[in-house]
Symmetry: C2
Subunit: 231 residues, 2 copies
Amino acid sequence: MLFDATTKDTFLNIFEGAPERLLRPGEMLIHAGSEAEQVYNILDGTLMVSRIGNDGRRQVLSFLFPDNFIGLTTERYFFSVQAVTKARIVARPRVMLEARLSEDPEAGRAFLNMVYRVLENSMDLIYSLGQRTAVERVAVFLLYLRNRHRVALDLADDSPELKTVALPMSRQDIADFLGLKKETVSRSFTQLDDRGLISRPDNAHAVINDLNGLRKLAGIQDFSSPLRAQV
Amino acid sequence: MLFDATTKDTFLNIFEGAPERLLRPGEMLIHAGSEAEQVYNILDGTLMVSRIGNDGRRQVLSFLFPDNFIGLTTERYFFSVQAVTKARIVARPRVMLEARLSEDPEAGRAFLNMVYRVLENSMDLIYSLGQRTAVERVAVFLLYLRNRHRVALDLADDSPELKTVALPMSRQDIADFLGLKKETVSRSFTQLDDRGLISRPDNAHAVINDLNGLRKLAGIQDFSSPLRAQV
DNA sequence: CGAGGTTTTGAGGCGAGTCAAGGCGTGTGG
DNA sequence: CCACACGCCTTGACTCGCCTCAAAACCTCG
């Protein structure tokens, strides 16, 4: 859930009336190392934040969805951003954001809260990569997507709309996010299916049959933190 | 390098004249889930940020050193902080920080920059955990400590003081940081030693004999980003 | 309907984990 | 000042989970 900005944060109003841009699937929006002159907000579609080593290894840092903010850096981007699906975004010069943040303490606070959420999510990912097994990682991944969907549409936790989670990204993308190989991701899905926790109508969707079972497997309600009541 | 605040950031002046507190090795400063009423700055010693699953698995998120800031959250802490060595810290109410940040845009900017550095470092860790092998992780870990030392003392990259890096934390702590088991950490150190990259005068120190070799192994100068010229 | 790409499944290998023993360093008490 | 005990680190032998390489199944789209 890196880089998100839920509940229509105040600072997002800088994007009102901003110029739109369309991205085709796979199109690069930001190359790591480039100057961070623009910041963006997503209107529609799924994007992907990643970092690529010079030997070709790729780590996906986050998936981005509508209303997510892109631009968490100063000067230069230290990550790349790429469209997963066809996407629609709006752009503003970074200076406009900065002006807004320093003139309005309320916007500054909202922005900082958004950054804290990003940080917390990156810690969740660190925990997954460092401590969880392959199946567990895939289980939390599904819950993570479910939760993204939930907050984006502002739904109740038991809303029937959340039974199905969309998987717009490839197995390779998921693998690079979870620190696994695509074959292992595939096998883990199969295993969750065999255990009766999910079913798969097609490659781009997973249906959650046993939410509590998934949560138990994922070890959610962890971290002895009342904050993270559910994911 | 999570949670650091190098180059004496402006906002740190809230800690001038703040009450000191001493921590014994192993002492808890923050329990995950507790209210974030205070923020801290480290004067002396090494601390450790971690998250613990309810099955006992522990992920160390970051090590903290003098001048590092502690308190990146709103409301409640979603991580624990614990002393590694004997440590001296100063504390201020979080509201004092918030007042400072909203009244002085310059402090706000400095604070945000610090948070961006923390984010960038957590991405480095994510890359390590997701993509690197055991020896590679240990190699970057040594370079990471070296760099912490370098910025803390404001030394040149080739300063002879940086030949030796201190390892105040246990092998278990390192293992939980790098997503490995302590035996694997130990074997990786041995391997770096055998390859002639480092030598180990004692358990709490490593001497870097071949900096370029270590960097090459770590795949630093990665991410096609001019920013990260060296670590 | 066929071609190319993606996903799944299978067989075998390897890197890191597990379990266990031995070494080393530190601190304490004789 | 030495002896011993305790905790931590290292090393060894073996296991297992994920990776690698390869083939088959499935989708998508011309």
